[in-house]
Amino acid sequence: MARILVIDDSPFIFKMVNRALANTSHEVVGHARNGEEGLRMIRELNPDIITLDITMPVMDGIQTLKSLSENGIDVKIIMMSAMGDDDLINEAKKFGVKRFISKPFKPDILVETIDNILKD
C-alpha cells in the first residue's frame, strides 16, 4: 500500500489517477498543480510516491526534480507526461528517476508501475 501525491497542472489527470487507483490498496493523498505546490505538499503529507508531470506553470517537472535534489528530499518518483523525448528522459535520469509513464496512460500501467517502484 502506498500513499501517492499527484503533481500535475491538470485536474483531469488527478481525476484519472484517482479512478485508476480506486479499487487498489493505494491511496491518493493530494493534488499539487505545479512543482512549487508539490514541494510544499511533499513536506506536509510525506507521500511514498509522487507522479510528476513535466509541462506545468510556475515550476515544471524538471525544475521540480532539481529542487527536490537540492533540498535533499527523498521520495519515489514516477514521471507522467505527454512529453518524453530522449533529452528529457536523460535529464530526468540524472536525478535518479527510473519510472516513466506516457500520457494518455492505461490504468493498469499505473498500478503496475507503482507495484514495481515499491520494490526498487
Binding site: F12, T55, G84, K103
Partner: protein, 162 residues
C-alpha cells in the same frame, strides 16, 4: 520553415498522433481530412478552443477547435460519467487532450530532429463564436471527423530567427 523534410515529418506526426491519442481516449476511429494551408489570418471557432504554445527550433502553437458534442462525448466515454453540459471538468479534459496530442507529436519530432521543442501549459476557452487572429506565420488546418462531429487541428509555425 526551410527544411521541407522536417515540415513534412511534423505534419504527418501531428496527424498520426492525433488519431492515436483520440483512439486511446475514446476507442473510436477518426477520419483525418486533407491538409490545407490557410491564407486568411483569422480563424473562427464555435464550441471549445484549446491553445498549446510551443518553442524551440520550431515555435508556434497548436489550436484545437472542438464541437461541444464531441467534447462531451469524449469526456463521458473516458470518465464513464454522463455530463450533458460543458463544465470545468470537460474543459480541463480537453486542455489535457490538447497537451497530450501536442506533447506526443513533439516527442517524435524532437527525437528525430533534436529540435528541443518544449510546450507551455494549455489554455482553454469556450464560446459560440470565437475569433483568433494570427501573426504572420505558416498556418495549416486539418479537419478530423468523429462519429459525434468535427475537431479542427490548426497549427501555426514561425521560423526561428537565424
Amino acid at each position: 520553415m526551410n527544411d521541407q523534410r522536417m515540415f513534412k515529418k511534423v505534419m504527418t506526426t501531428f496527424v498520426q498522433t492525433f488519431v492515436d491519442v483520440y483512439k486511446q481516449f475514446t476507442d473510436e476511429d477518426l477520419q483525418p481530412g486533407g491538409l490545407e494551408k490557410l491564407e486568411e489570418n483569422s480563424i473562427s471557432i464555435a464550441g471549445i478552443a484549446v491553445i498549446v504554445p510551443f518553442t524551440g527550433k520550431l515555435s508556434g502553437r497548436v489550436l484545437l477547435g472542438i464541437d461541444k458534442d464531441v467534447a462531451l462525448s469524449i469526456y463521458n466515454s473516458i470518465t464513464g460519467e454522463s455530463v450533458e453540459d460543458i463544465c470545468d471538468d470537460v474543459l480541463f479534459s480537453m486542455g489535457e487532450f490538447g497537451n497530450m496530442v501536442t506533447g506526443n507529436a513533439v516527442t517524435v519530432v524532437n527525437n528525430e530532429f533534436k529540435s528541443g521543442i518544449r510546450l507551455a501549459p494549455p489554455s482553454v476557452f469556450s464560446g459560440d463564436e470565437m475569433n483568433f487572429v494570427n501573426f504572420k506565420v505558416n498556418i495549416y488546418n486539418i479537419v478530423f471527423k468523429t462519429p459525434h462531429g468535427v475537431i479542427r487541428l490548426n497549427t501555426a509555425f514561425k521560423e526561428e530567427a537565424e
